[in-house]
């Protein structure tokens, strides 16, 4: 009994930190309508800043708390800078650009923090005055955690006062509802939003700095917390402070007890909880219907037309690509193989985004499912390559069919968050179920059959399969199926009223895109000879989005060009430096700011103008 109580209390302490971070995220979302991926990075920055300050000044009670406050202010200041430099230009952009742009900041900050503080975990000192523990029903409980439990409700109360009892808070709420009207009444929304980013980021920084006495500060804190904070914010209802508080409490308890019952799948448990809540209460526990962000993924989408002569151009390109191994060396052929695989991966995601207006933030899950599907068939069943390759799109397609059933029930940002959640589930299964999947070590020795072991032969096989799949995807885009998808994207209400079952089309598109990504994943597994959980991680999903973005969302050939350019950049430029995250982050931010239509769209725009 007393053990359960202490377990529950430690869940409350976790919940307090989770609430601090999530409250900032939900405030920023409520006002700017941007889901800030970099929020977790600001938490991490708060922890590192806090560590440095506490090491130097944290010997006394006053010094410790001053250090924590200074770390929070530092994170807040960076958030304000980010608003002025990046977010401000993205308020009217589709959510794809907002998510990607802020993810670029995640990458930049990861390298910046690694550069300043180094890659090792840092242990901080304990908080002076709160080092001991108290007896609760005969069980010791850390005093510091008890303080955290009290801090959560205190911060909630202070935020409530700020938003209801101060002029600043009233103005923020007004600008949240109608930015233009507030502006016409003399309120400068830009300054207000900079202030909101400062507040939200400072809360993240505060949460981070308060972790210093509890756990080691490391470079993985950012992704770990942001994914949990997403769940809290979505479960609570996006934009709702009280909802975030409630959700943090529930998830804190879920984690505290989940680890006792299912230690292997605590991560999965959290995401399953989110999926269940979203199905029962589509807008989260305390969210409201009008808070649902509009889906602007394809606003003002130009009509996609099947160009004449495209078939001949494609055949010409195929012939050219097929002839390349005759002149290129082994290394170039390997690069070509990977590029062709990535082109299929990007094109499958493009089917969702470009045609369906469905921005998936977890598309790598299906690439990974295909890769793992093929690899595990080889490892556990000793299947030959052709069989394993046939299994890859099937496994991924089935996975996408299951996840898609949930995901297409929601649109816009909620869809993005749900896909992210399912990708995280897939990732944590691959990562935690080491008996079956090899865990962090992955699956090794996945090599092609003897007849296909030559680099050129495997390239031709890849080229043939990918070209076939791309042809099918293109065929689907210009078939009634594709038109129905686009109708649903542009106005789901009008599409429904002419008798199109939008959700069903989106569901099938999700499964189709998933199995195409799965085929790409299977081919990738045999090209590399191994698979690892990172294939399914968030950065892999973002890579695919960057490829689509580079190519342009509203062009059919875009994903191919985007994949080629991305892979070239990745292998030739980024891997040549230790700071490739920084580079990739800068590339993403630049892309989002400079080429909102992608590179192919940008060139087409230039041509159209001249």
């Amino acid at each position: 009994m007393s053990f359960l109580l202490v377990q529950s209390l430690s869940g409350l302490a976790t919940a307090a930190t989770l609430f601090l971070v999530s409250s900032g995220l939900t405030i920023v979302f409520g006002v700017t309508r941007i889901v800030n991926f970099a929020h977790g990075s600001l938490y991490m920055l708060g922890a590192y800043l806090g560590w440095s300050l506490i090491e130097r000044f944290g010997g006394t009670v006053g010094g410790f708390w001053a250090s924590v406050a200074a770390a929070a202010l530092g994170a807040g200041a960076l958030g304000a800078v980010m608003e002025v430099g990046l977010l401000r230009r993205l308020y009217r952009s589709p959510e794809l650009f907002q998510l990607l742009g802020t993810f670029g900041v995640v990458l930049i900050l990861q390298d910046a923090v690694a550069w300043i503080w180094g890659p090792e975990d840092l242990m901080g000192r304990r908080a002076p005055g709160l080092k001991g523990s108290v007896e609760i029903l005969g069980q010791p409980f850390p005093l510091y955690d008890l303080m955290l439990i009290g801090l959560g409700p205190l911060v909630l109360a202070l935020l409530w006062l700020l938003f209801t009892r101060t002029r600043w808070g009233v103005l923020v709420r007004a600008a949240t509802q109608d930015r233009d009207m507030a502006s016409a009444l003399g309120v400068d929304p830009a300054r207000l939003f900079t202030g909101v980013l400062f507040l939200g980021s400072a809360l993240a920084g505060l949460g981070g700095a308060l972790q210093v006495p509890r756990e080691a500060v490391n470079l993985h804190m950012d992704m770990a917390i942001i994914v949990e904070a997403f769940v809290v914010v979505v479960v609570g209802g996006m934009g709702s402070l009280t909802g975030a508080f409630l959700a943090a409490l529930l998830i804190g308890q879920l984690q505290a007890f989940g680890i006792l019952v299912f230690p292997q799948i605590t991560l999965v448990l959290v995401f399953l909880f989110m999926a269940v809540v979203l199905i029962l209460r589509p807008h989260g526990l305390l969210g409201r219907a009008e808070d649902a962000p509009p889906s602007a993924a394809a606003a003002h989408a130009p009509p996609m037309v099947a160009g004449r002569g495209v078939g001949w151009a494609a055949l010409g390109l195929l012939a050219l690509l097929a002839a390349l191994p005759l002149v290129a060396g082994d290394y170039a052929v390997i690069l070509l193989t990977e590029t062709v695989i990535l082109a299929l991966f990007a094109a499958s995601l493009h089917l969702l985004i470009g045609l369906g207006g469905l921005v998936s933030f977890g598309h790598a899950a299906y690439f990974g499912l295909g890769a793992y599907g093929a690899a595990l068939f080889v490892k556990h069943l000793g299947a030959p390559m052709p069989l394993a390759l046939a299994a890859a799109p099937l496994v991924a397609g089935l996975g996408a069919l299951a996840a898609g059933w949930f995901c297409v029930r929601r649109s816009g940002l909620y869809f993005a968050m749900l896909t992210l959640a399912f990708a995280q589930i897939a990732w944590s299964v691959a990562f935690q179920w080491s008996g079956f999947t090899g865990g962090d070590n992955g699956v090794l020795g996945v090599w092609p059959s003897g007849w296909a072991s030559g680099k050129a032969v495997y390239y031709w096989l890849t080229l043939g399969l990918c070209a076939g799949a791309l042809g099918l995807l293109r065929r689907a885009a210009f078939a009634p199926f594709g038109y129905a998808l686009r109708a649903g994207r542009d106005s789901s209400l009008r599409a429904e009223s002419v008798g199109i079952d939008v959700r069903r089309h989106q569901w099938f598109a999700f499964a189709l895109a998933g199995s195409a990504a799965g085929l790409a994943g299977g081919l990738y597994a045999f090209a590399k000879g191994s698979v690892f959980p990172t294939l399914m991680a968030v950065p892999a999903s973002v890579d695919a989005l960057v490829m689509v973005l580079m190519g342009g969302v509203q062009t059919v050939s875009g994903p191919l060009a985007g994949a080629a350019l991305f892979h070239l950049l990745e292998t030739q430029v980024m891997r040549a430096t230790d700071w490739w995250r920084l580079l990739l982050g800068l590339v993403i931010v630049a892309l989002v700011l400079l080429f909102p239509k992608g590179i192919v769209g940008f060139l087409a725009g230039l041509r159209g103008r001249s």
Binding site: R167, V170, A174, D180, A184, L185, G186, V187, P189
Partner: protein, 253 residues
């Protein structure tokens, strides 16, 4: 085209009278590729109430929005007291003493009546009447009883009054009033007209867009009639009421 087009303005300029409070010259505006205002010229003098009249879709609302800076795609020249404001963002224009009351009201629905007023509050401005919530509750007695109520739970007439009161909290000396009588019961329309006249008596200048000729006749000194994004007729309100041909050409349905 009537021969009277723009005549009164030209006469004013020639007489060497002081610069009007608001002057718009060849004001143009676009929504996307749609060219809505093709060249609006109008003036509002100090203490004057000018009615901007025209049919649905003529460009009345767009004119007010363009003056307020709420449409980014705009060109032409707008001056307030001789000072150009056509490049300024809306909040800067508001802080110069221009109050904007939108046609669709746009109450902050999650905020109470008092909070809505608080959003509009700006420091007192020399040369413009000073408003407090108490003074506004005096002007709009219906609102006084609703102080703590949220914007969602109000009738159309109450919302219209709150919108006007909220803008007055900024102590403007020029009011841009967009279709204040639209969709309101006759009794409320009369109250709105009385409110506009009282504002004029307090020294405010008003540019009011209106389709309701009766309302315009009750409050306005002058009228500018807009058609297809251009002002086609300007002159004293009394002349407009007397000239049935102009009314038939630009206002009749």
């Amino acid at each position: 085209m009537t021969t009277q087009t723009l005549a009164p303005q030209t006469a004013t300029a020639q007489a060497g009278l002081p610069e009007p409070l608001l002057r718009a010259e060849s004001l143009q505006a676009w929504y996307g590729r749609a060219h809505i205002l093709t060249g609006v010229d109008l003036t509002v003098g100090r203490g004057e109430v000018v009615a901007l009249m025209g049919r649905n879709g003529a460009g009345k609302t767009t004119t007010l929005k363009a003056i307020m800076g709420l449409i980014e795609a705009r060109s032409g020249r707008v001056t307030l007291d001789g000072r150009p404001i056509d490049r300024l963002p809306p909040h800067r224009i508001a802080r110069l003493g221009v109050g904007y009351v939108p046609e669709d009201r746009r109450i902050f629905a999650d905020l109470t009546v008092e909070e809505n007023l608080e959003v509009g509050r700006q420091p007192p401005r020399p040369g413009a009447p000073v408003w407090t919530p108490e003074k506004l509750f005096d002007l709009f007695p219906n609102l006084a009883a609703l102080r703590g109520r949220r914007g969602t739970r109000m009738s159309g007439g109450e919302q219209q009054m709150l919108t006007l009161a909220r803008t007055l909290m900024g102590n403007p000396f020029l009011l841009l009033l967009d279709e204040p009588s639209e969709g309101l019961a006759p009794l409320i329309v009369r109250q709105m007209a009385e409110a506009v006249l009282r504002l004029k008596a307090e020294g405010l200048s008003v540019l009011v867009s209106e389709q309701n000729v009766g309302f315009a006749a009750a409050v306005a000194d002058r009228a500018s009639v807009i058609e297809k994004g251009q002002v086609r007729w300007s002159g004293p309100m009394a002349d407009l009421m007397a000239d049935e041909s102009v009314r038939r050409a630009y206002l009749a349905l």
